[in-house]
Symmetry: C3
Subunit: 147 residues, 3 copies
């Protein structure tokens, strides 16, 4: 978690811009939510106009972002809206500032239905999670959540 | 919302048929649920037989449709079944009538975790949503939900 | 249900290995949970290094698996963890044993928002479901859930 799918028209981003976009997304989660950087996966899907429709019409200027969150629950509507506003503001160089149209939505999925390299990720904010973040890789748990 | 992913074997639909399929999906949401047409995104994903398996076997005649709903909650099982029946009936020219096998499933994701062009979409059935539908594009909110 | 999306770097699996991987996934659901084999869909998505990022960096050795479950609810955290452990152990020949890094997560979606060939799948463990499993294809329901 999180996993980002970015569906975009062919040619929207160069290889370098994709890398900068993914790095910026990753830094938001690492800096603002203190997630380990390796929790963040970003996949770019390039589409031709004949495979992508908005409102029943082809749209060569639409970027559609589909995200699953796993590591954190965010039940409060206000906190959800804060995160969406943060994304829209901090990612503007890749979205709004290019005069694209863009849509983002996030779902949340169960923590117990998630493993990395076969490990169950540690509890949010735990000592183990801080260690995973510092080492930027998964490792056996040693704290309370170990089993 | 909704976002439709249509996974299909190579050559199942022509470019014109994809456009008609996407237009028909969009009209169902606009006509029956009164959603703004631009809420509906449809992406076609073409797969080769060696990348798509049903029951552990390649299947060159299987269309797998994966949908996320965001703009409307449909908690009642009866209403969910009505919508599934409607989809299967109204989209038959692109599915059943072609002697394909096909599978459809829908998930619902949180309304507060969704923006279009940086705007939070208005409440279901609100004056703002009706205006978005009439103009077929997002705009600043002016009603009760504005913030 | 279940639907598996396997996102992998180009060249990770041969066509034959993809088939064996999909067959092994399918057998786990059929043997351990007694699902009809045709319930299991597996799609492989091959990505180039410039379209796939983990922690903001390209990663040519990362396999990211995204699953939706529909046919069964698994609310108990312990049972969820058992299933994840089973997947990691039984699929090791395609993941751990290749010295890949890999991440798996599962979501659950509503049963009433699901049809196959226009049929609502029967209730879990019902006589109809057993018949679907034995025949390995959907058919009109004849038991209590028929409508």
């Amino acid at each position: 978690m999180p996993m980002w799918h970015i569906y975009h028209p062919a040619g929207t981003y160069t290889a370098q811009e994709k890398r900068e976009f993914a790095a910026q997304i990753t830094s938001l989660y690492a800096d603002l939510i203190e997630l380990p950087r390796f929790y963040v996966s970003v996949v770019f899907h390039e589409f031709s106009a004949q495979d992508f429709f908005v409102g029943g019409e082809p749209d060569n200027g639409y970027v559609r972002i589909w995200i699953d969150h796993i590591a954190r629950r965010t039940p409060e509507p206000g906190k959800r809206r804060w995160w969406m506003n943060t994304l829209n503001q901090e990612l503007a160089p890749f979205l709004k500032d290019r005069e694209l149209r863009w849509e983002i939505h996030i779902d949340e999925t169960p923590h117990e239905f998630w493993t990395i390299n076969g490990y169950f990720p540690p509890a949010p904010g735990s000592v183990d999670e801080q260690r995973w973040a510092a080492q930027n890789k998964p490792a056996p748990l040693v704290g309370e959540q170990a089993d």
